[in-house]
Symmetry: C2
Subunit: 190 residues, 2 copies
DNA sequence: CATTTGATATGATCTTGATCATATGTTGCC
DNA sequence: GGCAACATATGATCAAGATCATATCAAATG
């Protein structure tokens, strides 16, 4: 099943695409067909610099969509390369454009988009915090530590070593409690 | 005039709010009234930690909107504080929700939102690049240097000194040309 | 025109987090 | 049980960028 809001769309608009490792799904400059949803695997969006340098613009993981903006533009502005084989679905741009006439779809789209924007803004502010300790604390307040510390560290753009040390320092400062190995949470007291 | 897509909305939905310095427009936990557009001045969204630490979640500048997600939720999840006096407009959530029934508004919203998401994803990837030189180069490729170098540096979460040095190094390496003081652009040749 | 403000630019120093290394704990698997 | 893979955890070293300092240049202001 597709994630919101794309589950509102008719099946006719969906196309399973083969996503074997290293395959390029579309290239910068090509005419847009639509957006994509990653059901499993990973896809990188890359932009090519004037001298051929490749920059990763986005890493799409299972459950997320990419190239949403292509629905509103003529040409893709980056390349999409499969970094881990999996299932990927393409959704026709015409179908999405048409679906905006449906208020249910439109609201679902708006809800998803505004939440994502909010989350990204927050993350951008957090990764902008210089001090590892402050950054980790902000990440905790934002509720970003739900999986492993390693994942949390990657999200914060910190090495996991620095993250462990910051967590330890926060525990010693009394801001965080560490009830058991690998379990960190904000201390409610003081 | 309001920025897209909010210029599609009827005037009745708009309310000018007084935005003098330090004023709090809404607080975490309050019932949502709607989203806001900053016409001039600056507004910070702040989240308060369990021990009263304040974290900036977002800095809304002239021409941008904030609290868009409040349209889809019951309560504000952060505080909004005016950091620089200016003109701020509130837009009723009911009006926005209703406007999604209008395909023109819905598409305009979708276009704006998807572009913003794309831009933020790209910025998140760029600020995640450790090396100052690579980060600056990626920023240049992304076309982020349109204003001053100081603004560019802030966007990249780099000190402006480090940014100037990276630009100098890129010029010396032949990746960037510096035709005149303060003017940097990617070199097209080799 | 003199002054102020902010951007550009670069040098010197120092702090901090990246990196490398190592050890233990936990989980799943055959 | 033994092994592999990975998360947790912490120590040591080092490089890179932050910070502080200083100078020049440009534009705006009175």
């Amino acid at each position: 099943m597709l994630p919101e809001p794309f589950n509102h769309l008719p099946d006719i608009a969906l196309h399973r695409v083969s996503a074997e490792l290293r395959r390029t799904l579309f290239r910068q400059g090509e005419v847009t067909k639509g957006l994509y949803v990653v059901l499993s695997g990973r896809v990188h969006l890359e932009r090519v610099g004037p001298n051929g340098e490749r920059f990763v613009i986005h890493r799409a993981m299972a459950g997320s969509s990419f190239a949403e903006a292509s629905v509103f533009s003529e040409r893709y502005h980056c390349d999409a390369v499969v970094m881990e084989a999996g299932e990927v679905v393409r959704i026709d741009k015409a179908a999405v454009l048409a679906a905006f006439a449906n208020a249910g779809f439109a609201r679902a789209y708006g809800r998803q988009a505004s939440r994502q924007i909010q989350a990204q803004r927050q993350l951008l502010e957090i990764v902008g915090i210089r001090s590892a300790e402050d950054r980790v604390l902000a990440g905790l307040v934002a509720g970003l530590l739900d999986g492993t510390v390693v994942e949390f560290a990657a999200l914060l753009h910190l090495s996991h070593e620095a993250t462990y040390r910051a967590l330890r320092a926060l525990v010693e400062a009394g801001h965080v409690v560490n009830p058991s190995r690998g379990d960190y949470r904000l201390s409610t007291a003081t």
